[in-house]
Amino acid sequence: MLLILLSMLDTVQPASLVRPRYAVFGGSGFIGSRVCKALVEAGCSVASISRTGKCPEWAAEEPWSAQVNWLAADMLSPPAQLAAELGAIDGAVSCVGNMRPSPTWRDFFGLHWDYESLTRENGLVTWRICESARAAGASRMVVLSVSSSKKWAFGGALMGYIDGKLEAEAAGRCLFGDEHVAVVGPSLVLGGGRFAGLLRPYAAICDSAPIRAQTRFFKALKSGASSGYAPQDTVNEVALTPPAAVDAVARTVCACLLETIPASRLASFKEQQRAEDQIRDLLKEREAAGACEEIATERSTERADPAYGLVPPRRPGHIPSTLTLCWLRVIDPRLGR
């Protein structure tokens, strides 16, 4: 009996062979490929899913890339089909995202972003990814999103990108629950082959004491006085936010996936988030109040206008940017309020 028992135990796979398997959606991309690298180096089995299904050029000669299962798939294909191609996984990372401008020519200087395609490629695609990952048996999901300061500061043309990212986060939370989803929100990501020389000086400038101080000062000022339309939103929270190195972002994603972040640190993150949200909620309320006033004024004007019937219909979802509103104020202080 003992001999049989021992012989059966020999057939059990040794622990070193039972590697956790993770899927990286968008794994051929800038951040996704670094996530693949970090996971392989940590000892995981990795499947990369992307449109091309190819290893990126910079990693073709690297030894770790041979250990990644590079798969080509359409993310919008039915989740069951994608899950079948993927096989059983323990967790997944969504590194997909798109903020490219529309190729068609329109409006000011022709450059514009299509709201619908941005929400689809950032939001709907992640919904499908989460569904596929869940169908493949993933118990944990990490969604790569944007930082809250970007969400707050980007408006107008890039609203579709932000809305898509918020939809992606909602997808993760809905399908996996708050406990099993992690969102990583970087601001500008540099490093690797992308503007390699820019990262250090830019980070040094943004990290310098005067810049940090003035960012904080304007935040405090906004919380007390501004209406939320002010241009310092863009200047401070986008241009002067320190960039993140791509390797740091990839390692953070892996830490979220493998749950190595201590609870005390997560609690402090939540506390910081709450403080930031308080300021933003206040500003949102003021914006909403201002917008309501604007509508009331507009409607009263429309009613008084005899040629109201000739006014072309309003375009829903067409959103003026913060910069445009500032220009409006410069041109006529009564506008843009």
Binding site: S16, A170, P243, A288, T324
Partner: protein, 233 residues
Amino acid sequence: MYVDGTDQINSVAADSGTLSVLAAAVAVVRERRGAAAAGEVLGTLLGQPVDLRSSSSSSSGSSRSTTCSSASSPGSVGLEGSILWQRMPLDDKPADAASLENDAFREALIRDPRMWRSFSRAELHQLGVPAEVPEQTFIREQTFIREQTPPVHASAHHGATLSPQVPEQTFIRVEDAYYKPSTAAAQSPSAFGSPYEGALFGYKPLLFPWTPAAALIGFFAGAIFYGPPVPSG
């Protein structure tokens, strides 16, 4: 969990994202799995469950092990799996909610009990459920129905309600439990009004015929400066 911004990312990468920490986390998962696999074999041989894992907390355990553990305790048999979810527009809910129920549909939900199971239009039609609205609308609108067997009932009846014959269907707005933030209204005050882009709306400088305009203006300027002098007097 939300790791927000460069500062938090850098701190996490430095403390919790180093190669050694990540490798250690993977090693823990491997060890648990190795022990679980050995336990399965031993359990099969001995005829009783054997748990070789040292710690009972399996936060990073696989979904397979979660399923096994839930299946082994009769009090909570598939409690999560028993919740039937259907994604449908709330406005499409008929006055008689029970009309959504039919055997084919119920069986389809039981076969695939995912939380946010989506059905194609043809599939819904085939199941006898009204499907006038395309699935795109389901995702974009905030009108969802969650069709649920409440966990309280399920635990009270010890699995009696888990059988498809006795479902106590309730329709609850998903916003109670899960919600999709209405981002457009919250983020863009201009979504409320402001019909046009602004003062520069419609201004396409690169589409303006600059060349003929410059030629025309140049012609007049040339005519004024280099033309024959106008006789004075």
